[in-house]
């Protein structure tokens, strides 16, 4: 069949013909490496992954252990849980911890905090930033390092870029705009969206449209993470689902959304303690660990009988 008879737009037809493809058979015989760009072999990818071993600590050693050191860059991590479990707390802690200087084992980067619910409290961010600086000073003193702790809590607050989003249109717009924003502020190392579900849960009548918009957002965020080597953290709400004869908890936005993120962490209550469970990850084992929310931020839980439980 001739290219000129194909049902595609005139410009594309023109391009194909000028590139030398005049019939369908000539297109079919082109090899995949000719046509597709941006493919890599698995070995190249491994080299790349080895380079970006940077992970953002959560300030809780048990959580960091099950996460393989912390929240990873170049991937999208979804964190969900019931209200009051500490999702926003964890989000603020990560926004502060990404700024820990490289000499102290951190990334020395900046943070973008996209707030869809209005749950970001500046006073709390200040509390966590002050505790972080105190911890760094103590670490310095303990190990008698030569490096000076130059950061002040106010500097930490200055490096958190805060966007307040009020509708799903603004949410799509900000995610599109992030590409340009991060090219201008190259030291942004984490993007936290709190919460991804809020504007999509109520008032969205066309569910098919919702699924399309959400998968578009997921793809863009994944591209952003890979392109700029930063970590994307999405906080999600919970809802109940009727399965197997009873109501069970699950994360909001449905089954199709659950495929979109690289890693999924569920925060839940277990006999008076807060726990985190790795629900989905291509390379982390399913495990749960306990943590606590203190006045200084997220820290190890102080219960006596804690241990990391491996789930089979």
């Amino acid at each position: 069949m001739e290219v000129s008879k194909l049902p595609i737009s005139a410009t594309q037809r023109g391009k194909l013909i000028s590139a030398g493809y005049t019939s369908l058979s000539s297109i079919c015989s082109a090899s995949s490496s000719d046509i597709s760009r941006g493919t890599q072999t698995a070995w190249d990818m491994l080299q790349e992954e080895q380079e970006s071993l940077a992970r953002i600590t959560t300030s809780c050693a048990d959580l960091d252990n099950i996460l393989g050191g912390g929240i990873g860059c170049r991937e999208v991590t979804e964190i969900g849980g019931v209200p009051g479990i500490g999702k926003t707390q964890l989000g603020i802690q990560l926004a502060v911890n990404v700024q820990i200087p490289v000499e102290f084992g951190g990334l020395g980067g900046k943070a973008i905090y996209i707030d869809t619910e209005g749950s970001f409290m500046v006073e709390r961010a200040l509390q966590i930033a002050e505790a972080c600086v105190e911890d760094m000073l103590e670490y310095n003193r303990f190990l008698r390092n030569d490096c000076q702790v130059k950061t002040q809590p106010k500097d930490i607050l200055e490096n958190i870029f805060y966007f307040r989003i009020c509708s799903y249109t603004e949410q799509s717009a900000v995610i599109n705009y992030l590409d340009k924003f991060v090219s201008e502020h190259k030291d942004v190392k984490v993007v936290i969206i709190d919460s991804i579900a809020f504007h999509f849960r109520h008032g969205f009548v066309d569910l098919a449209l919702r699924t399309r918009v959400l998968s578009g957002i997921a793809l863009k965020l994944m591209n952003l993470a890979k392109k700029f080597s930063l970590a994307v953290v999405l906080l999600n709400q919970v809802t109940t689902k009727y399965t197997e004869g009873s109501f069970q908890l699950c994360l909001a936005l449905g089954d199709s959304w659950s495929h979109c993120c690289t890693n999924r962490l569920i925060l839940y209550w277990n006999s008076n303690e807060r726990h985190a469970y790795i629900d989905k990850s291509p390379y982390l084992r399913s495990a749960s660990a306990s943590y606590s929310v203190t006045s200084r931020g997220i820290r190890n839980s102080t219960s006596r009988s804690k241990r990391i439980k491996m789930m089979i």
Partner: protein, 319 residues
């Protein structure tokens, strides 16, 4: 692309430009803090005059978010709301917000007599001067909707005055009374108050005022608590050491409401002693303060709250 016969790169740049324009401007967290400290009363808080509580909440009831007051009947929720309304109406040099208050009284529990009594008892010098009591009480607008549709109408009407900065506090007492037959487990679907919840939270945020909502409580047995699928496998162990206790699943159920609330204060009475527990707060660990009700409102017996293990706060007992 096929329709417009436009280059992919042009489409992309158009999209990028539109997104940049639609996207709201960003601020740094530092700027946010400094702005609030400079323009708002006490950096955005309404002091409750209960020292321990104000310390736990970094200054008082915060602006821009919803604070929920939960408890069984007769524990002091309405008293607390009356006191807060008074405090918001007071002039600035007495620590108030010097503004109007809108009190949506669904259960008809508002008593102006009690409020004036509280005022006269806590601020005798203001209230005994001529006309002050009238002016203070005059700043508090009481609405008494008797049905959900009237409530919806009232919210629409006050939207305008709220956005014009004349009102400094909104109290809704109580949300639960508007939702009939709420004791069954609700099937997933549109919550009847979902529009109202979204409106209330957005009003709080854009007019930067505190909103206080009271809520009722119902007993819930342990079997009803929801679990995640990975927890269901361990259910047998949980069922064995089950003990019956009252959980404070509130009468405006659903996670939509629970997510919308930023601060939750739980009032309860145990063997004659009343407690106020700060159950959910981004800036404070769970604390319990014993209190009593005096002529001037609520009064804490001690300003040092006792820290509690969290689900203890979920166990409510009445009398």
């Amino acid at each position: 692309m096929k329709l417009l016969d436009v280059e992919l790169s042009e489409v992309r740049s158009a999209l990028a430009l539109v997104s940049e324009i639609v996207c709201p401007p960003f601020q740094t967290a530092l700027l946010l803090m400094e702005q609030r400290a400079a323009t708002e009363h006490l950096g955005g808080h309404l002091p409750t005059r209960l020292k321990g509580l104000d310390a736990a909440l970094c200054g008082g009831v915060p602006f821009g978010v919803v604070t929920e007051l939960v408890g069984p009947a007769g524990t002091g929720k309405t008293q607390f709301c009356l006191k807060l309304s008074l405090l918001a109406a007071l002039p600035a040099h007495y620590g108030g917000l010097d503004g109007g208050v809108i009190y949506i009284d669904v259960e008809s529990t508002f008593t102006s007599r009690r409020m004036i009594e509280m005022g006269a008892s806590s601020f005798p010098e203001i209230f005994h001067s001529k006309g002050m009591a009238q002016e203070m009480a005059g700043r508090i607008l009481v609405l008494q909707p008797t049905s959900l549709s009237e409530f919806t109408e009232s919210l629409e009407k006050i939207k305008v005055s709220l956005l014009q900065n004349q009102v400094k506090l909104l109290v809704i007492d109580s949300m639960a009374a508007l939702v009939p037959g709420v004791h069954e487990q609700r099937a997933p679907g549109q919550h009847p108050l979902s529009w109202h919840i979204s409106l209330i939270t957005s009003l709080a945020e854009f007019s930067r005022i505190p909103i206080v909502v009271t809520n009722r409580v119902r007993p819930q047995s342990h079997d009803e608590s929801c679990l995640y699928p990975f927890q269901v496998q361990k259910m047998d162990r949980i069922l064995k050491d089950r003990t019956r206790y009252y959980s404070h699943i509130v009468a405006v159920p659903g996670f939509h409401w629970a997510h919308a609330v930023t601060i939750r204060l739980v009032l309860e009475a145990k063997s004659g002693q009343r407690f106020m527990k700060v159950e959910k707060s981004p800036t404070s660990p769970p604390l319990a303060f014993p209190f009593t009700i005096t002529p001037s409102g609520l009064s804490l017996l001690t300003d040092d709250g006792t820290e509690m293990v969290v689900p203890e706060t979920c166990n409510l007992s009445s009398r």
